[in-house]
């Protein structure tokens, strides 16, 4: 029994009458990496919040046995004092404080309130070595680091608290493939040091890579626990457990005729909005045909979002030059509303900050971009039409909500994404720019979003599809442009597409640039 570090038995938690967790059991062995899988809203985060004391003892039923003793955590401090540390999906760093300060935030090395800076620096340096950041300047504000490094700082922060059980909630959701790999390798190193880890992730390839044991949760219930070496832990097997059915084809097939070129960009150049000498997009030219899904692949920071937003009525950048043609006619888009009028839509990668008004309801969010042209007459809104069309889209693309009056902030990630899609579908665009349309949503919702994209393509729309997940790009696109450091460095057709080919393009381009730089 001593090899079990944590047991959570018969945990049930209700939110105003709705069971979020229903008699869940979880057993974690000492020193293992235990992955927690499940669709969004399955209850993974709720379970971890109970474990870490975010939801205090008494607000749930069931028991937590940690290191052989029954624990009743009243808050996070309680669980941390036992060595349980959770790293949430959203980073909890203070951007203007230095690396060293952030590492010891709330846990300062101090005597009667006075910080011992020498010791702080020394210890911070020591611990940064563990995650391979020994060369970072400790006095640099954390906000100036990339997301990948910030995520590593979060881990260092946890290590500073003498952690025995580390919980990571989707640590790689904002990282690119390379950064993710680095982070996962660090988790494997920590395992060698005897730290137990619970990992929540949607990325199944990561789970197969690091996990020793996988517990699958669906609808607030434990479905099964799979062990590496004993059970089949292939991605398909995990998906079957998560959705309760076999998804035979992870990317829905699309059968549609590709028409003529409807959208073309020539020699597009964009400069950084705050630095007029920094060229972010360099001489980009590309085209999209009707009914075609054109992918843009590239590493994080390759300039894909910048390109998309600058095309969308110059929502990004300055000193923009180049030409945009739609159906052979040149467009001069100066504002977002010009772009919308010319039937171009942009679904942002950041739905919470750029896509939705979270405090408003579904119907108002859906109508927002089309208010002037579709839902009003001489400036007066037809509120009935608004509700009707919201209901129509709710049904059409399966937004799961009681009514369209529901606040968008209360919906799950997948449903929020569908609201954003609906918002742009009502503007009846010919060209849709989809920037990471499936980021952070679960397998089932992802499949549904892919189906929506296929339907749009079938309706003859031109679709620009940006994704950081290579399998998704390969599974969904008819043609792919590879973008690196603001340049298009390659173009692959569906037949030529493979992950290796894309990476080869990027690596050789980066190598060449470095070479030229020296």
């Amino acid at each position: 029994m001593s090899d079990v570090i944590l047991e959570m038995n018969h945990i049930t938690k209700e939110f105003s009458g709705v069971k979020a967790l229903d008699d869940i059991n979880l057993k974690v062995k000492r020193g293992e990496i235990h992955a927690l899988c499940g669709e969004n809203g399955a209850g993974k985060s709720t379970l971890m919040n109970i474990l870490s004391g975010v939801y205090p003892y008494g607000s749930y039923s069931g028991e937590i046995v940690y290191n052989g003793e029954v624990c009743r955590f009243r808050n996070i401090k309680d669980s941390e004092s036992k060595g349980i540390v959770i790293i949430h999906q959203e980073l909890a760093l203070s951007p203007y404080l230095s690396i060293a300060e952030n590492v010891f935030i709330g846990n300062e090395i101090a005597k009667s309130g006075v910080i011992n800076w020498t010791k702080t620096m020394q210890k911070a340096r020591e611990m940064l070595t563990i995650v391979g950041l020994e060369n970072e300047n400790l006095n640099v504000p954390v906000g100036s680091l990339g997301v990948g490094k910030q995520q590593l700082i979060e881990i260092v922060k946890a290590l500073a608290k003498k952690v025995d059980l580390l919980i990571l909630d989707e640590p790689t959701s904002a990282l690119n493939d390379e950064e993710s790999k680095h982070l996962l390798d660090i988790i494997l190193q920590l395992k060698k040091k005897g730290i137990t880890c619970i990992l929540i992730s949607h990325k199944l390839n990561e789970i197969s890579y690091v996990a020793d044991t996988i517990t699958i949760i669906r609808d607030g219930k434990t479905i099964e626990t799979l062990e590496k070496g004993k059970d089949d832990i292939s991605e398909d097997r995990i998906i079957r457990g998560m959705v309760g059915r076999e998804i035979t084809n992870r990317y829905p097939p699309r059968d549609c005729k590709i028409g003529d070129v409807i959208f073309e960009v020539k020699n597009w150049n964009v400069y950084h909005p705050e630095d007029e000498h920094k060229r972010v997009i360099k001489d980009v030219s590309f085209y999209v045909r009707a009914g075609e899904v054109v992918g843009f692949a590239g590493l994080m920071g390759a300039g894909r979002t910048e390109l998309a937003m600058s095309l969308f009525g110059r929502a990004y950048g300055q000193k923009i030059s180049g030409q945009i043609f739609k159906n052979g006619k040149e467009l001069h888009l100066k504002t977002v509303s010009d772009a919308i009028k010319n039937k171009i839509a942009y679904v942002s990668e950041d739905r919470k900050n750029h896509g939705l008004i979270l405090i408003d309801d579904i119907k108002h969010n859906i109508s927002l971009a089309a208010l002037r042209d579709y839902f009003s007459e001489r400036g007066v809104i037809n509120q009935y039409e608004e509700i009707l069309s919201a209901n129509e889209y709710k049904k059409k693309i399966g937004i799961k909500a009681k009514t369209v009056e529901q606040q968008v902030g209360a919906l799950s990630g997948g449903n929020q994404q569908k609201v954003v899609l609906a918002k742009w579908m009502v503007t009846e665009p010919d060209i849709l720019i989809l920037d990471e349309p499936t980021r952070g949503i679960d397998v089932g919702a992802k499949y549904e979003v892919h189906c929506i994209i296929n339907d749009l393509a079938k309706a003859g729309k031109g679709i620009i599809f940006i994704s950081s997940e290579m399998p998704e790009i390969i599974g969904m696109c008819d043609r792919v442009y590879i973008l690196n450091e603001g340049e298009i460095i390659g173009e692959l057709t569906k037949e030529e597409l493979s992950q290796e080919k894309i990476m080869k393009y990027i690596i050789s381009h980066q190598g060449r640039r470095k070479h030229n730089g020296k």
Partner: protein, 387 residues
Amino acid sequence: MESKKINLDMKKYGMILAMIAIFIVFNILSGGKNATPMNINNLVMQNGYVVILATGMLLCTLTGNIDLGVGSIVALTGAICAIMVLDYNIPVPVAFLIVIVVGLLCGMFAGFFIAFLDIPPFIVTLATMLMGRGLTYVALKAQTKGPLPNSYTMVGAGYLPTINIGTSDAPVDLLSILVAAVASVFIILSEFKSYRTKRKYGFDVNPLWQIAIKDAVILAILWFFMIKLATYRGMPIVLLLMAIIVGIYHFITTKTVAGRHIYALGGNAKAARLSGINTRKVFFWVYTNMGLLSAIAGIVLSARNASATPKAGDGFEMDAIASCYIGGAATSGGIGTIIGAVVGALIMGILNNGMSLIGWSTDIQKVVKGLVLLGAVTVDLVSKRKK
């Protein structure tokens, strides 16, 4: 589901119920003094300008900001108007028009810095507050300017024509009663129309008894007010002005694209921008509009006092801001209604008036107002958090 809907309605009308409750409490404390026709008339006269300012301020709070310059613009526009009429013999209607343009310009000035140069509204309006007050002192040479002619004071202290059907000792104004009757028919008809349209489109409708109770309360308040006014001196011109302004802004915020854009900006400015909304334009017009309404309030206030004083409008911005927050506006923006702000203003007015009637000093009144503001917002936020 059903119970949730009733809760929502309760929240929406909770402030109106609170207003009625406060009125009744002071009615008991003052031995009925606050319900006399004369006092009801005073309530309207005393609070007209706050209601007008609160409607404009609501738009500012919807963007997640406030306008601190309001009180100073009220003073400045009042002063300029009085000077034009008394020193330069400019006809009153022309002076009113000019001063409204001045108000618009003041608003545009603030709006320009806020919308096009991205200076925080708090700073810009703090500056307009200081500048406006200073300019008022300069214009009036720190003296009170008055008395203003009748044609001017009408706006703030005058009444609409009356048709007396009572006696000269106990007058009853037929016009007030007719207006109340027309308003009642209008309210019932529009409710009926919206009910029918909703049915036609196949939407859920609130149960009829709920609609009936809601309308009964509204009609009761309306008739209570109008009968009191009818038995005093009829309808004050300020009331008409208030009703028109509140009506227009209620329509703008609930039914128009422009109004929705303000809510969208306050709810999430980035998302609004990427939905094709020109957020700079929205900001600019919201603050320009505040200048316009400040000028109207400036005219009403100077008319009511029959003079312009350098200290006029001191602290009005705070009353208007408090009205919005008492009426349920969110400090972060994107939430709030015109009706809420008006009810907030009336709650403050009823409190002020009631406390004066029972002889509490203005010092204590400030403490009570502060507590009410804190209490209303605390209840609002804590109840939201529980959900």
